[in-house]
């Protein structure tokens, strides 16, 4: 029950983040919406999934996927932001 509620809250966060990605104009604004919604929403969805299942051997793999997402998602977001920033300030034409 509480797992379903947590996963529903995560799905709501992900839906709001998708709306932000579609609505925003700039690359950095989209990065902010994408990073926040993916980290928070998918973390809450996976936590709800762990609580939904109860004690099962599949929980450790879900926890590993959660730790992997928490470790790699900020690195990917930061890498895209640094790439856009460096290319905008050192490229020939500033779009």
């Amino acid at each position: 029950m509480i797992g379903t509620a947590l996963a529903g809250c995560g799905a709501l966060l992900v839906a709001i983040g998708t709306f932000g990605i579609v609505r925003f104009r700039d690359v950095y604004s989209r990065l902010q919406a994408s990073g926040v919604s993916d980290n928070a929403g998918l973390t809450v969805v996976l936590l709800g999934l762990i609580l939904y299942e109860g004690w099962a051997p599949i929980d450790w793999m879900l926890l590993f996927l959660l730790v992997l997402m928490l470790a790699t998602n900020p690195i990917a977001t930061h890498s895209i932001a640094k790439s856009a920033f460096v290319q905008r300030h050192t490229g020939e034409d500033s779009s």
Binding site: A7, G8, I21, V22, R30, D38, V45, L68
Partner: protein, 84 residues
């Protein structure tokens, strides 16, 4: 829980729209990153709902490979060889 899976699957569709139309290349990369994370989450939900742990292995490998691809593409476009 299947409603959550449906919401996550439906939230991939606007990201595909951004992926096709995005003004710069970084918008497309961002949309690909978000869509790959959501696909991994959908695979995890499907693994729990259908009681098949193999799908969870697929989700872990998919998340790791999409991370490596996104970081490599971002580093590649940082040096100025990206498409505008």
């Amino acid at each position: 829980m299947s409603i959550v899976e449906g919401v996550l699957l439906a939230s991939i569709v606007p990201l595909l729209f951004i992926l096709a139309r995005g003004p710069t290349a970084w918008d497309r990369l961002l949309a690909y990153n978000s869509a790959a994370n959501r696909v991994a989450a959908v695979l995890a939900i499907s693994a729990v709902l259908s009681q098949q742990p193999v799908l969870l292995d697929v989700a872990i490998v998919y998340a790791a490979l999409s991370f490596i691809g996104v970081v490599a593409l971002a580093r590649f476009m940082e040096r100025g060889e990206g498409f505008r």
